[in-house]
């Protein structure tokens, strides 16, 4: 029960891991080809950012993820609103959408690459598709759970559909929609890595990592993993931050 009292404790395991890693790569037994020492990875990252094109790759990946997310999230929220608000859309398209959700996401890669090609369009289409599902599911759930009273109030006041969405559905379902957007952001990042690995080679962290694999540069591969993890973490934090900010406004 003393766990909370020792703030340095969470650092113990990573530091020990680093030490073992460092020791293993220096004492020998493991060649640097298989396991480069930590400073080699750090050095590689530093080099990549100062001279190599790593910042270009990072920017390309972020841009791709951003575009795909924006596209997928807006269409997902719109689709979710439609499923939740229109009875016939929910009945007609709802089961179809749930069926679509059962298909593993990456199964769409071959199909999309045939339709949109393996270039930038295909990649963004895949990222958008990945981001759409969580946004749509949560928006749908959120709008379905709207209080009947509000919806009826809107009907009594003879709201236009757009007003219903703007004044009733969006504010009411905001927490669920934000949960969906957070899921969409994480899915978009995973899909970005997937698209860069599976589709045509282009600047991007996934492509760089694959190049590192093909040329057996483990420092590059490990450095890319580190970057991908940091960006993933940042996305998660950002989403939670935006969520608390927006929800605070709502209840205030």
């Amino acid at each position: 029960m003393t766990g909370g009292a020792l703030p340095w404790r969470p650092l113990l395991v990573p530091l020990a891991g680093l030490a073992v890693w460092e020791a293993m790569s220096h004492i020998g037994g493991v060649s640097n080809q298989i396991l480069p020492p930590p400073e080699a990875v750090a050095h590689r990252l530093w080099d990549g950012f100062t001279t190599g094109g790593l910042s270009v790759d990072l920017a390309a990946s972020l841009m791709r993820a951003g575009f795909g997310f924006a596209l997928g999230a807006t269409s997902g929220v719109a689709f979710g609103l439609m499923l939740g608000l229109s009875r016939w859309a929910g009945r007609l398209l709802g089961p179809l959408f749930l069926g679509y959700r059962q298909v593993a996401l990456f199964a769409w890669v071959p199909l999309l690459s045939m339709w949109f090609g393996g270039g930038e369009t295909g990649k963004i289409a895949f990222i958008a598709l990945a981001a759409m599902a969580p946004a749509a599911v949560n928006t749908w759930r959120g709008t379905r759970a709207l209080s009947r009273d509000y919806v009826e109030l809107g009907a009594v006041l003879m709201f236009q559909p757009l007003d219903t969405i703007r004044l009733i559905a969006l504010p009411g379902a905001l927490p669920a929609i934000l949960t969906g957007l957070r899921g969409a952001l994480i899915a978009a990042w995973l899909a970005t890595v997937g698209a860069e690995l599976f589709l045509d080679v282009a600047p991007g962290l996934g492509g760089r990592m694959n190049e590192g694999r093909e040329t057996f540069q483990l420092d590059l591969v490990l450095g890319s993993i580190l970057l991908l993890g940091v960006v993933g973490l940042a996305f998660g934090r950002l989403a939670v931050f935006a969520e608390t900010l927006l929800l605070r406004k709502r209840t205030a």
């Binding site: 969470p10 995973l190 694959n210 057996f216 890319s224 940091v230």
Partner: protein, 230 residues
């Protein structure tokens, strides 16, 4: 739309064509073999990942000391998109079965750990106190109180884990495999046989659906002896 010839077969084949392809590949046994291989990989990876995840999740859920040691590191590593591990693992273990089992294992491990740890942590204090009053030893505390109370979260974790495992097997097979459903799709793409790609999509949908249904049934059955705390 497709039948009227508005869209060529390379863009969107008619449902009838897809059905015929489905029938043809089922009859030849190729589809069945590919499905079995993919399912077997999922099963192996899922067992490894879920077993490890139950142990690790239970451990960091029960002991705040272990949690403060390993929890943050685990959470940080879990932020890395799963596919990012693939190039590294290919370098370390090659592209054989081990690669698939490891990646599917990781895919299962993460949600299982998250949910199990949360579930174990959230076991009502009242229940734990009952155990303490009855002078339960740690083993019976875990088996008779903590586990039953955490069943719903454990199940959520297993369900998410299985869904992840299923996603991952397709991804890995698309990228590095010469058998399985994912490979069949990438093969169909290379030959521009969209009907084959769509046929596999249909098989994936059916399998995903039946996994989901099966788990829901099982959950309902297990949930019956779940403890309720007022």
């Amino acid at each position: 739309m497709a039948r009227r010839g508005w869209l060529p077969d390379q863009i969107l084949p008619a449902p009838g064509v897809v059905l015929a392809t489905l029938r043809e590949f089922t009859a030849s046994g190729e589809l069945g073999d590919a499905t079995l291989i993919s399912l077997q990989r999922v099963a192996e990876g899922f067992l490894v990942g879920a077993g490890g995840g139950l142990l690790f999740g239970g451990a960091i859920g029960l002991s705040s000391r272990l949690n403060s040691l390993f929890g943050p590191t685990f959470l940080a590593l879990a932020q890395v998109p799963l596919l990012a591990w693939m190039p590294l693992m290919i370098l370390l273990v090659g592209i054989d079965e081990a690669l698939k089992v490891i990646l599917i294992g990781i895919a299962t491990f993460i949600p299982v750990v998250l949910n199990v740890a949360q579930g174990v942590r959230d076991v009502p204090v009242a229940l734990r106190e009952v155990g303490r009053v009855l002078l339960f030893d740690p083993w019976s505390m875990v088996t008779q109180i903590v586990l039953p109370a955490a069943v719903p979260s454990i199940f959520t974790g297993l369900r998410e884990g299985l869904a992840n495992a299923w996603q991952t097997v397709i991804a890995v097979e698309l990228f590095a495999s010469s058998e399985g459903l994912g490979y069949m799709m990438s093969w169909g793409r290379q030959l521009f046989q969209l009907d084959l790609v769509l046929a596999v999509v249909a098989v994936l949908a059916v399998i995903g659906l039946s996994m989901n249904l099966g788990l829901t049934r099982l959950e309902g059955r297990l949930g019956r002896w779940q403890v309720r705390v007022p």
